[in-house]
Amino acid sequence: MSLREKGAITGVGETAYSKESGRSVLSLQLEASLKAIEDAGLKPTDIDGVIPYASGVVAEDFITNLGLPDLRFSAVTPLGGASCVAAVQCAVAAIASGICNHVLIPVGRNGASQGRIGTRVQYMPQFRVVGEFEMPLGAIAPAQLYAPMARRHMELYGTTSQQLGEIAVSTRANAILNGNAVMTKPMSIEDHQASRMISDPFRLFDCSLESDGACAIVVSGADRARDLRRPPVVVMGVAEGHPDSPSVITQRPDLTRLGVAKAAPRAFAMAGVSHDDIDVAEIYDCFTYIVMCQLEDLGFCKKGEGGPFVESGAIRLGGKLPINTHGGLLSQAHMVGMNHIAELVRQLRGEAGKAQVADAEIGLVTGYGDMGDGSVAIMRRG
C-alpha cells in the first residue's frame, strides 16, 4: 500500500510569533490547535490522533485540555526540525491504516525567551554522542556542528558567502510581505556581509531566529477532507530519510549530503510528479547553507551548483522556484518548520496574500533536523 493521496492537510493554525510570548508553551500550542481545528471546520472532539512535538507537552495534555473523549493514536517523530513533515507521514500512515480519522500535529515553543539553542541541545538525546565527544572540545551549538558541512561545500565547489547571503536576503524580502513575521526590516547583501561572524562561514544573518509561538495542523483522510470547511491540500508523496552517520557529522562519509537526499526520490516517486511540476517550495532553513544543500539533494540542481542556482534569482518570488514565501525560520519565526507547512497550505489554497505564487497547484515542503535528518512532502491543491 502506498500513502499516495491517502491524506490531506485540512486545517492550519498559528499564534502570533514574537521574541517573548509571556505564556506557557502549552497554552500557545492549545491556541494554535484550536485555530487549526476550527480552520478545518471540525470540533475538538473530532480529533482522534495527536503527534506532539518534543517540547515537554504530551498527548495527555491535549486529551485533558481539548476534552478528547477517545484518542486512538499518539506517536512522536523525534527528528528535530524534520519532525513536522515526518509527523505528516506518520499521520497519513495511521489514517490510511484505519486507526484514526483526524490527527492534530501541534508545535510550539518559547525558543527566544527561554532555553536558547546552545543550552537546549545539551539535553537532547539526539545530541548525546556529540555531547560526549565534541561539546567538551568547544563544538557546542548547531552553528558550529553544521559549519564544517558548509565550509567543505565552499572548498569543493567554490560556493561563496554572498551566495549564502542571497538566501537570507530573498527570505527577508518575503517576510516583509507576511503579516506575522518577527523580522520586517529590509536586508541587502551588504547587510548580510556586514553581520557579525558566528561560526565561520555562518554570519549572524545565515542563522535562523529563536522565536516564541505555536503552529498546528490537522491531517485528515483524503476522502473525509473533501467534506470539510476548506479546500483540502492533498499529500501526494511524503518520506523521511536519515543521513549516514546520523549522530555525528564529523564521521559522515560525504559531508555535503543530507538525509533528505534519501527521502526525495521516494517522495517524488510516490507523488508521480517531476521537479518541473513544483510551483513553490518551503525549504527548512535553520541556516542558509542547509537550504542550498537541500536544493541540491532534492534534485532541483546538481550537487555543487546550489550557489549559482540561488544567485540566478531562481528562489525569489517570480523566479523558477520561489522558496520560503513566508520568510522561513530565518525571518518569519523558528516554529520548527511547521510554519513552512502552514505556508504551503496557504499557497495551495491561494491565500498567501502578497506572497502568493500565481496559480500554485503543486508544492513541496521539507524538514531538516538534528545531525541531518530529512523529511519531504509534496502536496497539491485539492
Binding site: 560526549e132 567538551p136 572540545l137 568547544g138 552553528a143 564544517p148 558566528i198 564521521q251 559531508l255
Partner: protein
Amino acid sequence: MSATGIYNKLVPEPTPHSAPYWEGLNQRKLLLQKCQGCGKIRHYPQPMCAACHSMEVGWVEASGRGTIYSWTITHHAFHPGVRQDLPYILATVVLEDGVRMNAQLRGVPAKTLCIGLPVRVAFETVKEGLTLPYLIPEEPA
C-alpha cells in the same frame, strides 16, 4: 579556566563503552576501537560493529597524524566556558587510521587553512582526571 580558576567548560560523561578512550587521553594516547570480529577501526566509541555486529572490542593507539577535511572558526561563545578562547578553530580531520576526529586546531593562521593540511594530535590536561585532544600543525618531514 574561569577567572576564579575553576574549570567551567562542558565536561564529558564517559560510558562503559567510552571509558578506555578517556582513560587513554589521560595517558596522552589517542585510542580507537578495533572490532575483534572483522578488524574494522571505528570512532567515536560505540558498543557494536556496524559491519559485522560483533560487540567484542579491542583498542589500538592512533598515530595521531592526519589531514584537514573541513573546519569552522567560532567567534561566538555558545557556553560561558569558551569565552576566553574566542576566536577558535574547530577542525574536522581525517586520521591516518581512516576515521575522523574533531578538535580545536592551534598554531595555524586562519588564512592558511585548507583541505589536506597535515596536522597531528596533542594533549592537554585541563583538570584533574580530564585530558583533551587538540591539533597542531605537523612539522614538515
